[in-house]
Amino acid sequence: MTRHVIVALVVALFGLVFVRLVGGYAELSALRPLAAQYVTQAPLELGTPNIVTGILITFRGFDTLGEVAVLFMVAASIGLLLKKDEPNAASEAAAAGIGEHTADDAPLREPSEIVRTGTDVLLPLIFVFGAYVIVNGHLSAGGGFQGGAIVASGAMLMLLARPGSRLSVALLSVIESFAGVLYVSLGLVGLVFAAGFLDPRFLPKGEFGAFVSAGAIPLISALLGIKVGAELSVIIDRFRG
């Protein structure tokens, strides 16, 4: 009881802090100089209509690279965490627990006709949509992360609809690694042939708004999408135990 009172007090105090923040907030009426610079430079210098993608892939590409690393590490961490114990490991109880766990949750009932057919119909659509979002990232709303997430949701659907099916984790992780290495390499190419690490301008800018344009941004975007899609799928698969 006292605990709830304390928690209520803490939450209330944070509430007051937030209220004060809201009280101090005034909606901006114009872009600040730096933001304006992004808005004007991204189309001009990079040739990408989607300014957010330009920022993500180029200006703050270093962040994005780090973010990819984070996802990559999560896949590795989950793998480490949920790895089956060796037969004679000390925590045998834990091993038994995992086995039981899957036994409980997966009675392996065949999914219904509707689900299976639905999956068959939806999966290609989802993958195609994912691919579209990935490769159009430089032109319209979307990009590697978003598209990658869509692709992974397809993988998730597949795993839900066909509990028996197995993703080829080995293949996915090879793809994931290759995409990562290529991403870093593209960054290096930018360093050598353009102005700096992760600079996509080593490819021609092309016609503004065309599918093939904006330097290497679509390329990087695609790699990102592949990598994110593969990573998320691996993570989802690992949770199946």
Partner: protein, 1033 residues
């Protein structure tokens, strides 16, 4: 090409590229995997190392730009001196750590890539100049840590990791929100721009955003009390991972704070308070901890607190020039020593301090453990020592005395629990704990130990104390250590030669009184050390340590600055401590000795800092010239030296240490080492010659000395263990010297030196003789001895001779000293002191008679083994000392003249001194009446005591031993052990407080999360006040 190969950007290419490639290499085979991992990790370290070198050479930081646009448009990073200073050591330690963790890492490509990216992430946190990028790197580091925490799969470890995640996620959420709000306020994320335009960060949103960023960084550093989650991880994680969290991740976070500090100018005081509370309480709670890794956790957290405190305070007082030495020194010290300790604990598989894993039979491991402990405790020659010195100097200079007190108190507590572990590791254990860890497992530990030594030297150079002579004792010790496998006596002889050469060289450069002390003590120490040759056994580590001790004494005496003095002082303390620890039953007494020594050292440190603050220089000559304001400094110094001299009340460390050390080493302790404190007191007392207040203080000190003499004599009378009796006799005799110094007159000081010389030789003989008796009879108890005069005639004569000189009866040397003292007191009008001196003389006679009678006279006890005279190796040094006494008795001028000459010029310049040369005093001084009066008084008291004894019923047939037995029981009843009780009470209260405070750590992750949130609210409230919770204008 080479330049681009070692450009700092490559750190990230290697880290990320290497990380991404690792799964591919895994499929190619183990060898590929391992080669790739090591290549990338070593590459990261090499790149940062080369970059640091470049930056150091060129003096300009390397800017790392990304995306081909200039900041603030794109993210940039910077590799400057500071960055390199953090990145390179962390990288090196991470490499050694990977080696340590290799068993767990090698089969596990996931762990390998996490480890690699973690190291890169730390470098990123250090280098990035973009606030949001900092958040990304923080997350990279956090996620990698979470993953590595999964290496240990026990329920406790997994639970601890979950608590860790909860708390750090809250912290990073603060950083995220703070960053975005800062962007809202300023329109930029570039740290340099933010700092340049920090004046514009105002209003409710700006202030809160700053506090959120600050809150995240402080919480990530695990502040007390919101740090239970960190401790649990330290306790349960694999030692390699725990060390990485403790030294690597914390280093990254700390450097982020260093980088952002200009934004928090208004919060400096708050940061210091956070650090101070953490430092003090972590160390307090650490005192009740026995689990090794959790213990190290408390120490880690406290060290981060100390760094935080130092950084904030030094910035606040504008002493930025000291930050590299202080913060850098503390950082390197913590990094290397803590990593070493974690790994050592891991290698030994010791999870509890109380565990039976004794290191008694493994000197090498014990040495490593000692080395790291010494570093952690902030003792020389490691970087922590130089850093703490500079910190205390700066803070005292700005009058931040409460902070100094806090730092010293916390350091003491930390030393207490760390060395408690060490002392327990010393315990001899019966079971031979299997085979030791192999060389490979210890390789990383050696690595950090070496780095630590190197860092210590660099820090010394930075402090301006890099002269070779200062390190001569350590170098000689090291050289002798390499010869430690030689037979004991050979090594002993080598030690003597080394001490004579190095010590002589050092003593040669000393001046004035210090030169006298140096010559006297060096000669004494050589003679007494030679007596150690009577032992034929190998004494691993004994001789190198002895050399360090004995050479440090002249080094201390030739110091010209207080820093050099303090350095040698601490080395002497440490060397004595380790030598005492060689004694069989020394265990618990080592800790007491060390703690009292540290308290003493801290008083000295504060005193020296006070003088430096007054005079603006650390030169020891400031002791003579500083003005009348130095009273406080004088008191601090006097207390420090008195603790070390075993003055009444703080004498409790003395008997145990003296009695339990090796028998020949006790002679060294009492005869030589104790005199160092006397020298300190003498030069410290110069301060008091400047003002009337101080003269009164000196009067007080004289009483302390006299009471010490009386108490020592009474305690000596109580003993039935004759080595203990001599130990207390030492305390008693040192009391005389203290009183003589406190006289503050020429006569007093000449007397003091005379007494020093006398005591050195007398106690040398007595303890060596006793060593022989213990050797031959195998007992230290009066009950097991008696009538040895026939069996050991030479010893008997020597002891009788020494006792005669100590008692002050004519014609020997002590006679001059004792009567000089009494008449000097009378002359000064300190009548009561003089009377007390008479009582003390009487009590002294009593225990001396008991010593001679109990050992050599009477009938041998029934079970006594047939004792033989000791060999010449033990007799010869005693004879030499006796000859010394004889010479100085016959030709006192040999000592008096140089002493007089050394003292006069100092005093001629002072105001209070009314110069009287010794000759004028001798001219009209007639000792005989004083002596006759004193002996008569003693005789009267003795007869009275005898009558009282005979007055009781049934004690008609008293022999001498029964007489002593009677008074011993009287004394035991009438003199409760007040001092021991008091110090036990202090210890008990500390432990009780620690046990209470640590109840905060309930172990519940949700509660810990609540603590973290409340901590932020407290920080917020402390910074903004109640207005922070109100939607104002």
């Amino acid at each position: 090409m080479v330049a681009s190969l070692f450009h700092p950007l490559n750190i990230f290419l290697l880290g990320l590229g290497g990380g991404f490639v690792i799964p591919l290499l895994y499929r190619l085979g183990k060898a590929w995997l391992h080669a790739g991992f090591w290549l990338a990790l070593a590459g990261i370290v090499a790149v940062s190392g080369v970059s640091l070198f470049d930056v150091y050479r060129s003096g300009t930081p390397i800017e790392v730009l990304t995306a081909g646009f200039a900041p603030p448009l794109s993210i940039n990073l910077r590799f400057g001196l500071w960055e390199g200073f953090f990145a390179v050591p962390v990288g090196l330690v991470a490499m050694l750590g990977a080696l340590h963790l290799w068993d767990r890492l090698k089969g596990n490509y996931g762990a390998l890539l996490l480890y690699l990216i973690l190291v890169m992430g730390i470098d990123g946190m250090v280098m990035t100049r973009d606030l949001f990028n900092l958040f990304v790197f923080l997350e990279i580091v956090s996620i990698a840590t979470y993953g590595l925490l999964a290496l240990d799969r026990t329920p406790a470890a997994i639970a601890a990791a979950f608590k860790f995640i909860m708390a750090t996620v809250i912290a990073s959420t603060f950083l995220l929100l703070g960053t975005v709000l800062l962007y809202y306020v300023t329109g930029t994320l570039n740290i340099d721009t933010l700092i340049a335009e920090r004046q514009q960060i105002t209003g409710p949103i700006g202030a809160t955003a700053l506090l959120m960023v600050l809150g995240c960084l402080i919480i990530e550093l695990k502040p007390f009390p919101a740090n239970g989650w960190g401790l649990d991880v330290y306790e349960t994680a694999p030692s390699g991972v725990a060390s990485l969290v403790s030294v690597g991740v914390s280093a990254g976070v700390f450097f982020a704070l260093v980088k952002l500090l200009p934004l928090f100018e208004a919060q400096l005081g708050l940061i210091a308070i956070c650090g101070g509370i953490t430092f003090l309480f972590s160390n307090l709670i650490g005192c009740t901890q026995t689990k090794v890794q959790r213990l190290l956790g408390y120490s880690s957290i406290s060290q981060m607190g100390l760094m935080l405190l130092a950084l904030a305070l030094l910035t606040e007082i504008g002493a930025s020039a000291s930050i590299p030495l202080v913060v850098g020194g503390l950082f390197i010290n913590h990094l290397l020593a803590k990593a070493g300790l974690f790994w050592l604990a891991g290698v030994l598989r010791q999870d509890d301090v109380e565990a039976h894993a004794s290191l008694g039979g493994r000197p090498l491991l014990l040495g490593l453990l000692a080395l790291f402990m010494v570093a952690i405790a902030g003792l020389p020659p490691f970087p922590g020592f130089w850093a703490k010195w500079e910190l205390v100097m700066q803070l005292t200079g700005m009058g931040r005395l409460p902070w100094v007190a806090l730092i010293l108190a916390g350091s003491l507590l930390e030393a207490a629990y760390m060395f408690n572990w060490f002392v327990r590791a010393l315990r001899p254990s019966d079971e031979r704990a299997g085979e030791g860890p192999d060389l490979i497992a210890l390789l990383p530990v050696y690595g950090v130990a070496l780095l630590l030594v190197g860092a210590g030297y660099l820090a010394a150079r930075m402090s301006g104390a890099g002269q070779a002579w200062l390190f001569a004792p350590l170098l000689v010790g090291l050289a002798l250590y390499t010869l430690d496998r030689l037979p004991g006596r050979v090594e002993g002889v080598l030690t003597l030669v080394a001490v004579a050469l190095a010590g002589g060289w050092l003593a040669w450069s000393a001046e004035g009184i210090a030169w006298l002390f140096a010559a006297l003590l060096l000669a004494g120490s050589l003679v007494i050390a030679a007596a150690g040759l009577y032992r034929r056994d190998r004494r691993p580590g004994y001789y190198p340590m002895l050399a360090i001790l004995l050479i440090s004494i002249p080094a201390l005496l030739r110091s010209s600055t207080s820093l050099e003095f303090f350095f040698s002082w601490e080395i002497i303390t440490l060397a004595s401590c380790f030598l005492i620890a060689k004694g069989r039953g020394a265990g618990p007494h080592v800790l007491t000795f060390l703690l009292f020594s540290l308290v003493s050292a801290f008083f000295l440190l504060a005193g020296f800092a006070g003088i430096a603050a007054l005079s603006g220089t650390t030169s020891l000559s400031a002791l003579v010239t500083s003005g009348p304001d130095a009273t406080v400094a004088f008191v601090l110094l006097a207390v420090g030296f008195l603790i070390k001299a075993g003055a009444i009340g703080v004498h409790v460390w003395l008997p145990g240490a003296y009695a339990e050390a090796d028998d020949d080493f006790t002679a060294m302790l009492s005869a030589v080492v104790s005199k160092v404190a006397m020298f300190g007191l003498l030069i410290g007392t110069y301060l008091a010659t400047r003002s009337e207040v101080s003269i009164e203080m000196a009067h007080g000190m004289a009483w302390v000395g006299m009471l010490t003499t009386i108490a020592g004599a009474l305690l000596a009378l109580r003993q039935s263990d004759f080595k203990l009796l001599l130990a207390f006799s030492s305390m008693s005799q040192l009391g005389y010297i203290v009183t003589a110094i406190a006289l503050m007159s020429h006569l007093g000081w000449v007397t003091a030196l005379y007494l020093v010389a006398n005591h050195m030789m007398v106690k040398g003989i007595l303890f060596l003789a006793v060593a022989g008796i213990i050797w031959r009879t195998g007992t230290r108890d009066f009950a097991g001895t008696g009538g040895l005069a026939r069996a050991m005639p030479v010893s008997f004569v020597l002891v009788a001779f020494a006792i005669l000189s100590m008692s002050g009866l004519p014609p020997l040397m002590g006679f001059g000293g004792k009567w000089l003292l009494l008449s000097a007191m009378a002359e000064k009008g300190w009548t009561w002191l003089a009377l007390a001196g008479l009582v003390a003389t009487f009590l002294g006679f009593l225990y001396m008679i008991r010593l001679v009678a109990g050992l050599f006279l009477g009938v041998p006890p029934a079970g006594q083994a047939r004792a033989r005279e000791v060999p010449p190796t033990l007799i010869a040094p005693q004879l030499l000392l006796a000859a010394g006494i004889l010479v100085l008795s016959l030709y006192p001028k040999l000592l008096m003249d140089p002493v007089s000459a050394a003292i006069d010029p100092q005093f001629a310049a002072t105001l209070v001194w009314e110069g009287k040369s010794l000759y004028t005093i001798y001219g009209y001084w007639n000792p005989t009446p004083v002596m006759i009066a004193a002996v008569a008084a003693a005789a009267v008291l003795g007869i009275a005591a005898w009558l009282v004894y005979r007055g009781g019923a049934g004690r008609r047939t008293g022999s001498l031993s029964r007489f002593y037995g009677y008074y011993r029981s009287v004394l035991e009843r009438s003199l409760p052990p007040v001092a021991t009780g008091f110090w036990n009470g202090v210890t008990g209260a500390t432990l009780a407080a620690a046990a209470t405070v640590r109840l905060l750590y309930t172990g519940n992750g949700q509660t810990y999360a609540l603590y973290v949130l409340v901590y932020f609210l407290a920080l917020y409230a402390a910074s903004l006040g109640p207005a922070g919770f109100w939607v104002g204008s």
